[in-house]
Amino acid sequence: MTLRAERIGLLALPGLSFLAIVYALPLFMLLLKSLQIDGQFSLAEYQLFFADEFSRSVLWRTIRVALLTTLLALAIAYPTAIAMARAKGIWLSVFLVAMVLPMSVGVIVKAFAWTIIFRTRGVLNDVLMSLGITDAPVRMLFTETALIIGAANVFLPFMVLPIYAVLRQMDSRLPEAAASLGATPVFRFFNVTLPLSLPGVVAGSAFTFSLAISMYVIPSLIVGERQQTLSMLTARSFLYLRDEALGATISSILLVIAISVVLGSSWLAARLGARQ
């Protein structure tokens, strides 16, 4: 029996070695490459990157867009998750379908749909003009606002579901206990519901933020070349500019941000969890 227990670990080897070779190793190599110039350790590429005004603006724009997208998604997702946690029967199914179908349909379909909506001769302009809100078509495509709305739309289910999951699990007697102790609805929300929902908020926000930081298809379609994000710049470096050093550098920055977000949110979740 004990032999079996040790040997069981070996079962993980095929999958593990596959990922180690085809996933971890290439990433590691990429990271290494960004730290080198002509085979020698150097931070020169990073210095070049941060010194360049254009690069800095791209970095700042990427972070800004990701933050605003996350905030917008959170603002919509939180009340939605609250309603969803109380939903039963057919309404719950409606909610679930509304979350899962967009997730399953894929980024391409959704990003493309938003270009239809936002274009100058597109759906939203038609509606605005026929309602008399504007006289001339508003230029929406290629704006940062359009990008944030589109991205929030694509990532919304990833923000709603973790919060919903946590709220659903919450003991329904807790708000009742709070009420019987004299807590007003407002007090109850801020002192019971909100703190207990935080793990879901952290998980959802971390995931949304990291998706938003690294998104490529959505900005490509909605804002195009004019306002680039880090990932677009990376792709350009490799596919068009043939500047692989730059590409490796930006990729590494993206990687570091992604890893930091994961680690940071795990730490935060652990701290929240320790009190629970």
């Binding site: 003991d171 206990a177 019987s180 004299g182 807590a183 007003t184 609805p185 002192n191 009190r275």
Partner: protein, 361 residues
Amino acid sequence: MTKPVRSDKGQRTYLDVVHVGKAFKGTTVMSGMDFRVAQGELVSLLGPSGCGKTTLLRIIAGLTGADTGDVVLDGRNITSLPAHKRNVSVVFQSYALFPHLSVAENVAFGLRARGAAKGDTGPSVTEALSLVRMSDFADRPIAALSGGQQQRVAVARALIVNPVLLLLDEPFSALDRKLRETMQVELKSLLRDRNMTAIFVTHDQDEAMGVSDRIAVMNAGQIEQFAAPAELYARPKTAFVMDFVGLSTRLAGRVTQVQADQIQIETAHGAVTANSTLPVGTHVTIGVRPELIAPQAGENTLEVTLTDAMVLGSKTLLHGAASEPDKLICELPGMPGGMSRGDTVTFGWSVADTLVYEVTS
């Protein structure tokens, strides 16, 4: 059922549930519910699942609204008052302690909800924790506590706000038997010391008997009897109460003769005489408490074939062969021995001890 309540202490009515009705999704859970508790009384709502006891509790607490009727507490009509304004504390079956707060923070919650600043709650919390003997656990997280410890914290949390009424929903059901008995004694003395009015909800008759001044036995949304434990045991008003509280020999039968104020009843095991004036032909259920039966002939005598003789140390229970829902049970003090499965034994008891109920359904 509407005479004014006089408990042993002669206190006036404190909680008055007047003609309350409630229906869920078209099914009526209760209607015309009247229920009165005196100040300082410890009362239990006892009944099987689905009898409406928890619903009644929640209506009193303000967690569920009544469809009809009023709830009056200490002279104030609180029927339309939301739960957080009633000053009625609830201890839930699962304790409902806030997992994101420590023990001390849980206990302080009610004070903070009423506007106390975080820093001011210290002394009261310390006092409340020492009352339930949990002073050492102040900074612990809830998850680290055992069931009994959690229950004590829940009680401290409920009492620290000086509620006018304390409601407890099956507070002991999650504890194991030994612990349950200890906690019942502790809680009862704690509540008595503070002259707290409390209502327990339970399905466990031993618990109700041990903790209460009076017990309301509920069935299908109605209170069948609301009396002190001794009264419920010796003089149950309905067959349901007799079955629910304590053991009994019970037999189905039909009235065959009436003489003055006694009747003769024919059962599957023989004839039984009881004090009653029900007419001939009435279907009845008769009952006798097992300790009132002796293994010898009496005013009522039945020959019984034993299916079991349970030796329980301080007493022996003799079970006789009977088809459900009839039961033949005799309780003998001590361990007389000499009786086993298959023996024929005489069950004898007096006419005065025979309980009779008309079968209505």
